[in-house]
């Protein structure tokens, strides 16, 4: 353990009000911590820059699930394991189930939180592509009030977010897909568990009369942020299932992404595999049962 303990402090407010007051009093001074599955890794390595930690784990307002007919709203402290225990998640958001199962391994799933996965802002995180595919919105709260932002506008650059220093992510809201839908999730890591993704793609499509009327594709590990493949989506929306422009979409997605060479994979590998996984998704979409 390389951290110098006396350099660090942690406090655990019992209510949201108290937490928000603390953040408002010294904006930027605090690093919120929930499951600790990312921050504690940095801490162990002696590389955690934030020295004052604000433990959110006791704040009940950040927990709880609201399940109404049109949408599911999840408290940001929900863990991957808790997500997997929700019937509505399995029923409406199968990609989120796969994302949660693909994150780390069990001990990480038991501690890591959905809100943490969002604000840690790793481009390689496993749930953001699914959240993008489902058109999620996030609620940000501060002593100044609360606001909802579309998740696909939340990440603004590498580790840059539409999140003020006094704000916390409180809830994540997902509209329940209506009608005939198609869900696809694939994470490409080097091994089957405990992997950091090299490419991750989640997609949700709505189908009417054998035509794709709506498509959202979320991508991870291929840009500084998790992002929508808007050009690829545009190439597909409005097309019939039996005439999906797979090669056109494959070309388009290369315009959407900007992968880099890093220790886990080359940019070239990421480009080729993103195209391949997208093509695989579209093949499955083309073969989707619509009756």
């Amino acid at each position: 353990m390389r951290a110098f303990l006396p350099d660090y402090a942690i406090q655990a407010p019992g209510t949201l009000d108290e937490a928000l007051r603390m953040l408002a009093a010294e904006p930027g001074a605090w690093t919120p911590i929930a499951g600790g599955t990312d921050l504690m890794v940095l801490f162990n390595a002696g590389r955690l820059p934030g020295r004052r930690l604000l433990d959110l784990s006791r704040i009940y307002e950040l927990r709880g699930i609201e399940d109404d007919p049109s949408r599911l709203s999840l408290g940001s402290l929900i863990t991957y394991t808790e997500l997997l225990e929700q019937r509505a998640v399995h029923q409406f958001f199968p990609n989120l189930v796969k994302s949660a199962r693909a994150t780390g391994a069990l001990a990480i799933q038991n501690r890591g939180t959905l809100g943490g996965n969002i604000v840690n802002a790793s481009p390689a995180a496993d749930t953001p592509p699914s959240l993008l595919a489902y058109g999620a919105e996030v609620q940000l709260v501060s002593a100044r009030g609360s606001r909802w932002v579309a998740y696909d506008a939340f990440h603004q650059g590498y580790k840059k977010m539409d999140l003020a220093p006094d704000e916390l992510v409180a809830r994540i809201r997902l509209p329940k897909p209506q009608g005939l839908g198609f869900h696809f999730y694939r994470k490409v890591g080097t091994r089957q568990a405990q992997a950091i993704s090299k490419v991750c793609l989640a997609a949700y499509a709505r189908i009417q009369d054998r035509v794709v009327t709506e498509l959202r594709v979320g991508l991870g590990s291929v840009a500084p942020v998790p992002l929508r493949a808007r050009r690829a989506e545009a190439a597909v929306v409005g097309r019939a299932l039996d005439a999906l422009p797979i090669e056109e979409a494959r070309r388009a997605v290369l315009e959407d992404i900007s992968p880099i060479d890093d220790i886990r994979a080359s940019a070239h590998y990421r480009q080729v595999v993103t195209g391949n996984v997208l093509a695989q998704m579209l093949k499955e979409l083309g073969a989707a049962r619509t009756a």
């Binding site: 942690i10 600790g36 599955t37 504690m40 930690l53 394991t81 069990l106 990480i108 089957q192 405990q194």
Partner: protein
């Protein structure tokens, strides 16, 4: 803010208190504070699972848990699996099947295997893999560990 807190835990069924820095890792609280050295540190990055313990009924990597977050928690470590000198079924199966070679991953692996069998008394192949995938072992190639888990699952089936 005080430099240390008094941490109260229920560990392996007994109430324990220990004075610690609130950012100390649960792993260090157990190993150094309570001298429960069965729990191992293999990486300090939440990858290897050697530090696995049950915290409030769930498997966690104790190297990633700050002490403050464990306050009033219920902890089970490898030392809590046996009843005195009597090994638990999974410990016995590890012994008989040679699932422990160097033994360093074993405490965490046992915690994960025990948790798996409690959640899922007769796991299929995928469930066994998902249940153990957070615990790296370099000696066994996992084959004998899977054998041990399966043998306990089968015993459960008969019962």
């Amino acid at each position: 803010m005080p430099e240390t807190i008094t941490l109260t835990l229920q560990v392996n069924g007994a109430r324990r208190t220990v004075d610690t820095h609130p950012m100390a890792r649960l792993l260090d609280v157990l190993r150094d504070g309570l001298r429960l050295t069965g729990t191992k540190e293999g990486c300090g990055e939440g990858e290897c699972g050697a530090c696995s313990v049950l915290l409030n009924g769930r498997v966690v990597n104790s190297c990633l848990v700050p002490a403050l977050q464990a306050q009033d928690g219920v902890v089970v470590t490898v030392e809590g699996l046996a009843e005195g000198e009597a090994l638990s079924p999974i410990q016995d199966a590890f012994l008989v099947h040679n699932a422990a070679q160097c033994g360093f991953c074993t405490p965490g692996m046992l915690i994960a295997a025990d948790d798996l069998l409690r959640r899922c008394p007769n796991p299929d192949k995928e469930q066994v893999q998902a249940g153990l995938a957070g615990n790296l072992c370099r000696c066994t190639g996992y084959s004998k560990i899977v054998d041990a888990v399966r043998s306990v699952a089968r015993q459960g089936e008969v019962r």
